[in-house]
């Protein structure tokens, strides 16, 4: 089974985010980048599926200038082949990403394409659906479990709903799945191995036709404004109890109404 995983980097939230002078972008001076958490789940799931069903794992990332380490990390975790796609000054939106990935997937073999269901930098969750539409493949989002059918021509994919409901889909391959979580925590990639692979590994590069951004245009960016705050009630138990009673009364939540 040919498994393909699509990955990207997002800002590391270890640093506090700031907005730059244009008001439309994050200030990049202090930004560091990490692999998107959901993409790591997708890769872990692909590696687990390969252990169960055999095959290969190929990782693709759009070349935004700093993806060599990301792809070497994929190899360190156990991927068979890594490819950087196109060349971009900054990360394109989901529409442009989907058409670039679709273009290279016409030449890269794939039975199952796994993407992180979303990423913290856009939260739109559109890459999977857009890619599936471009390639004319079936697609399921928010997948929490994947099992390969005994004939190797289908997978079953679980999708979770509110209230503890789980839907089970049978999907014909090839297909695109948006991964919400992996069966095990993403494995640790030893720096020793990543560093060695950075020197010795082959990172392939494939061109992708430039596609215009077709999605959202950011007009302004702002930090969420705090509205309201918690009141910390101090003092002994009786004082705290009195204050709670007073608050409930103020809001008309006591049976006798406002305290007199």
């Amino acid at each position: 089974m040919e498994l393909v995983v699509l990955l990207k980097q997002v800002p590391d939230l270890a640093e506090e985010l700031e907005i730059d002078a244009s008001g439309k972008e994050l200030a990049r001076d202090w930004l560091s980048y990490v692999t998107s958490e959901w993409d790591e789940y997708a890769l872990e799931e692909a590696l687990q599926l390969r252990e169960l069903a055999g095959g290969t794992v190929t990782c693709l990332a759009l070349d935004t200038g700093s993806v060599d380490e990301l792809l070497a990390t994929c190899l360190a975790r156990g991927a068979d082949r890594v490819i950087k796609v196109g060349s971009y000054e900054r990360a394109p939106d989901s529409h442009a990403s989907a058409s670039a990935f679709a273009a290279v997937l016409r030449t890269v073999g794939h039975d199952l394409v796994l993407v992180g269901v979303q990423a913290i930098d856009d939260l739109d969750g559109q890459l999977g659906p857009l890619l599936a539409a471009e390639l004319g493949l079936p697609h399921v989002s928010v997948v929490t479990h994947i099992a390969v059918g005994s004939d190797g021509k289908t997978v079953t994919a679980n999708q979770e709903y509110a209230g503890g409901l789980v839907a089970e889909f049978e999907v014909d391959l090839p297909a695109v799945l948006g991964v919400q979580t992996s069966r095990e925590a993403p494995r640790y990639a030893p720096v020793s191995r990543v560093r060695q692979l950075m020197k010795t590994a082959t990172i392939e590069a494939l061109d992708a036709p430039a596609a215009p951004d077709g999605g959202l245009i950011v007009e302004s960016m702002s930090l969420p404004t705090a509205s309201g705050h918690a009141e910390m009630i101090g003092g002994d138990a009786a004082t705290v109890a009195d204050r709670i009673v007073a608050i409930l009364a103020e809001r008309g939540l006591t049976r006798t109404g406002a305290a007199s």
């Binding site: 270890a14 640790y188 720096v191 560093r195």
Partner: protein, 432 residues
């Protein structure tokens, strides 16, 4: 050569009856003609361990067992260095054995070993193989990732590494902004920069350096973890990555000497950075300050019974026992009392060799934390009336020992202080 009688064997005779000096020593033939059964054990595991760079001395163990009673982990569990050798002899490569992660690389076994079997080299070598195979406790992997991403084991923002300085009460210059050479480049270290109790020590150090008129500066946000504990926990690649970042930074600036707060950093800069291309004078802060005690102006007395915990990577593994004691003895009022386990036989706090980041894992294999055992010893030495102090000189320890003071029910009965905090206290006017 000593003058010993020489016994010359000319040949071996086989006799039905033998009489030597009038005594009949006849008996059944009992010479061993075949190899002892010990070599029936598979040798692959031992060959594999001793084939690793650093694992060579494992084979030299002759099972005398001197290492076991001095091992701090043995005191609280079943672990012992000799037992590792037996496991390997019997075919285990230790990769799936919890014992692999219990050693704190404190070095006390190596101190007494007649064969110089050295876990400070063996453990990192085997652990590295475990890390490469993904056999690594989750909490340790989590810390490795934080070190990788942020350059400190707490996962805090690299940018905020010098935020403690705003409350130091004295200017703490950044060497990048100074634009000139300094006498002392002060490497603040991880826990001193980020942990609330570590920051107390950092601020005290800044005030003491200022009071002494030392020409100093720090690296600030450019500083990264020294990486030594990651190295000892088996992530040599992570160590090298951090060391290369620090060396690139250090090479940008001119300074006479590097003064560090953390004995693990001291060990790294002194013993391991040279092979990666940085060489220079490095001093633990106690070594830097000890010759300056005559210049310290004491303004108050610190009437306390103080005992001192030797950090493994300042004391036993780097031979510095006197500088911290010189400082403590210079502080007016302090009565220094030694614990039974002291100096070269100091008891480990449990934080070294990655232990700092394995507390949860280790807890499943020991009866109590090493830090708890050590706190009990301190309490027995300096009493419980609230005037007893456990003094330390390693930023791993305030948090470890203060947690242990609480968990052993000694809250309010024993105080933990970095030596620099005690110095600074005595250099301030008495608050009472």
């Amino acid at each position: 050569m000593r003058d010993l009688p020489v016994v010359k064997v000319d040949g071996v005779l086989e006799l039905e009856h033998a009489v030597v000096d009038g005594i009949d020593v006849s008996g059944s033939w009992n010479r061993m003609f075949t190899q002892r059964s010990i070599t029936d054990y598979p040798t692959e595991a031992m060959d594999w361990v001793t084939g690793l760079d650093g694992g060579e001395s494992m084979r030299d163990c002759y099972q005398c067992g001197k290492c076991v009673p001095v091992c701090p982990v043995d005191h609280v569990g079943d672990y012992g260095p000799r037992k590792l050798n037996v496991k390997v002899l019997r075919g285990s490569d230790l990769l799936d054995d919890p014992d692999l992660w219990l050693c704190t690389t404190c070095g006390n076994c190596y101190r007494v070993c007649p064969k110089e079997v050295n876990p400070l080299r063996i453990m990192p070598a085997i652990r590295e193989q475990a890390v490469l195979q993904g056999k690594i406790p989750d909490e340790l992997a989590d810390t490795f990732q934080k070190l990788q991403r942020t350059g400190n084991p707490l996962g805090e923002s690299a940018r905020k590494r010098a935020d403690w300085a705003t409350e130091a009460g004295v200017p703490v210059p950044l060497i990048s902004e100074l634009g000139r050479p300094v006498d002392v480049l002060w490497y603040v270290s991880d826990y001193t920069s980020y942990h609330p109790r570590g920051k107390d020590a950092a601020r005290a150090m800044a005030r003491v350096l200022t009071a002494l008129g030392v020409d100093f500066a720090i690296l600030g946000a450019e500083e990264r973890s020294d990486g030594d504990s990651a190295r000892l926990a088996g992530e040599s690649g992570l160590f090298e990555m951090l060391a290369e970042q620090n060396i690139r930074t250090l090479s940008k600036y001119e300074f006479s000497r590097l003064v560090v707060m953390d004995p693990h950093a001291y060990n790294a800069f002194k013993n391991h950075y040279p092979r990666l291309g940085w060489e220079g004078e490095v001093l633990h802060y106690t070594q830097f300050l000890a010759p300056l005690v005559d210049r310290m102006v004491w303004q108050s007395r610190v009437e306390l019974d103080v005992t001192y915990h030797d950090p493994c990577y300042l004391g036993r593994n780097n031979g510095e026992y006197d500088a911290p004691r010189t400082l403590l003895e210079a502080i007016p009022g302090i009565r220094l009392v030694e614990m039974p386990h002291t100096r070269a036989n100091g008891y480990c706090c449990g934080g070294g060799g990655g232990g700092m980041w394995l507390d949860g894992f280790v807890a499943d294999h020991v009866s109590e934390r090493l830090s708890e055992r050590r706190v009990r010893e301190a309490v027995a030495t300096v009493g419980t009336d609230g005037t007893g102090v456990l003094s330390v000189a390693c930023p791993y320890e305030p948090s470890r020992f203060e947690d242990a003071v609480k968990s052993t029910g000694n809250d309010g009965r024993l105080v933990v202080r970095d030596i620099i905090e005690l110095i600074e206290q005595a250099m301030q006017p008495s608050s009472s």
